[in-house]
């Protein structure tokens, strides 16, 4: 049987529908620049890590299938370390990791009718010397990516993403301190989650989500004596910002 251009288009559409269906319920990701560094925040089910260290100044967070997140994460870590050693750590940039290493491979995989699509939407963050040079890349399951400054969000639906962006656009016109940024990130998360929740107000959405899940927040520290600037915020650091 011949495989016509119509079939090909149909396959892509079905693949996209398949992925979008599975992403819809995913827990949003918020990335936010602050004076002290970059925050990445989400709410996860108990044992499924969603935020990862990629390289010295790079982090990744995503929603979707855990196995697909792993695929993307490992590709990114492998590429970053091989390049960082062959050239120098300064030559490993988010642009190269996302634009060169990941995006074309994901595009090829998505357009191959015989392959299962990756169910993943990822947010990459690169820490700069100042908040103005922090970068966020949103990478979609079909390999498309876009760059944003000051903040980046990834959500299950387009609508949720827009609503989250609305919360953050005004707020990020001035660079916030870390505490304020963390609070706002949780609000943005809850606003993005709102569609999938029965609660009306953002704090209630967050409370409801925390009955079965937990806040995962990672921090890329701008000024640090440590080689590795990525770390998770401890329960103690998070506690003051969570609903009782």
């Amino acid at each position: 049987m011949a495989f016509t251009p119509y079939d090909w288009q149909q396959t892509l559409r079905q693949k996209a529908d398949y992925v979008e269906d599975r992403l819809r319920e995913g827990s949003p990701i918020v990335g936010l620049s602050c004076h002290e560094g970059i925050l990445l925040v989400t709410v996860r089910r108990a044992h499924q890590q969603k935020i990862f260290e990629i390289y010295d100044r790079l982090a990744f967070a995503g929603l979707g299938n855990q196995s697909d997140l792993e695929t993307i994460r490992q590709l990114a870590v492998d590429f970053a370390h091989a390049e960082g050693f062959a050239r120098s750590p300064q030559d490993v940039s988010i642009q190269r990791v996302v634009g060169v290493a990941l995006s074309p491979a994901m595009k090829r995989s998505f357009s191959d009718p015989l392959r299962l699509p990756l169910v993943v939407r990822g947010l990459f963050a690169q820490l700069g010397d100042t908040p103005d040079s922090d970068l966020f890349y949103l990478l979609n399951y079909d390999g498309e990516f876009s760059l944003t400054y000051r903040f980046g969000v990834a959500a299950g639906t387009e609508r949720a993403r827009e609503m989250m962006e609305r919360v953050l656009v005004e707020f990020t016109k001035k660079v916030p301190k870390r505490d304020a940024a963390l609070e706002k990130a949780l609000e943005a998360w809850a606003v993005g989650r709102h569609e999938a929740s029965s609660a009306l107000e953002w704090r209630a959405v967050l409370s409801e989500a925390l009955k079965t899940g937990m806040v995962e927040a990672a921090f890329l520290e701008r000024v640090s004596r440590r080689e590795r600037r990525f770390r998770f915020l401890s329960d103690q650091e998070l506690k003051p910002f969570l609903p009782r």
Binding site: Q49, F52, E53, I54, Y55, D56, Q74, V77, D78, H81, A82, G84, F85, A86, R225, R226, E227, R228
Partner: protein, 264 residues
Amino acid sequence: MSYGDFAKLLEAYGMPDSVWDIRPRQLAAGEDRTHGQCANGVWAHGTTVIAVKFDKGVLNVADRRATAGNAIFYEEAEKILKLDDETLIAIAGSYAAAFEAVRFLQHSFKYYARSQLQELSLEGKLSEVSRVLSRSLPGALQGIGGFLPIVSAFDREKHEGRIFFYDVMGARFESREFGAAGSGAERIRGAFEYIVRTKGPFHTMTLEAALRETLLLLEIAASLDTATGGIHHHLPLAKTVTAEGVADVPEELLRSLQKTLLKE
């Protein structure tokens, strides 16, 4: 799939270990590159690096001179390097091989932690150093790529600083109190024993006391070994590894001790 093995990753990326390893090569007739060889077949070029314990962890001190044959090549060499936030390496020997090995190890530890989502154990790190050394053996045997490291780490399980030294083939030994490498180190070995027996073990000393002893040892090494820089013209490099991780010894402390020792 590399399972966190950085050497395998480089291979998969078309960068086999020849990138960081000096491969064996047939020497031309009459060619001899063994001028850096020291006594007892240990390959140690001109330098003195010292690691001693103190009450909070391990202190590393090194002179800053790099030599090429009889010439002083550089007076600001850094021979104590951070492998990660909790591990120091002090190197003596071929700079090219040592620096490539250190770069490899730094990436290797980070790669393991990030790809496997768990930290590499101290034992794992020490084995990786052995592996790198055994791979650089062909270079060492030709007299062009040998180096000897001293690794200092803070053991979180035992809650104490630990010092490890290696032979050129990668065999690892743990030292109770001190370790030293380089051409100057051989000449001051007995002095370490003398200090331990007369002033007590290094691990009971404060940082300042341990630093004073090691700077003096470095100065003695410099007076016996032309390839060791000493403390006269250039401030030696001094770093510590403690429960808080790796840190530089404050410059003011180094300067004040340098001043006192030079007066004595």
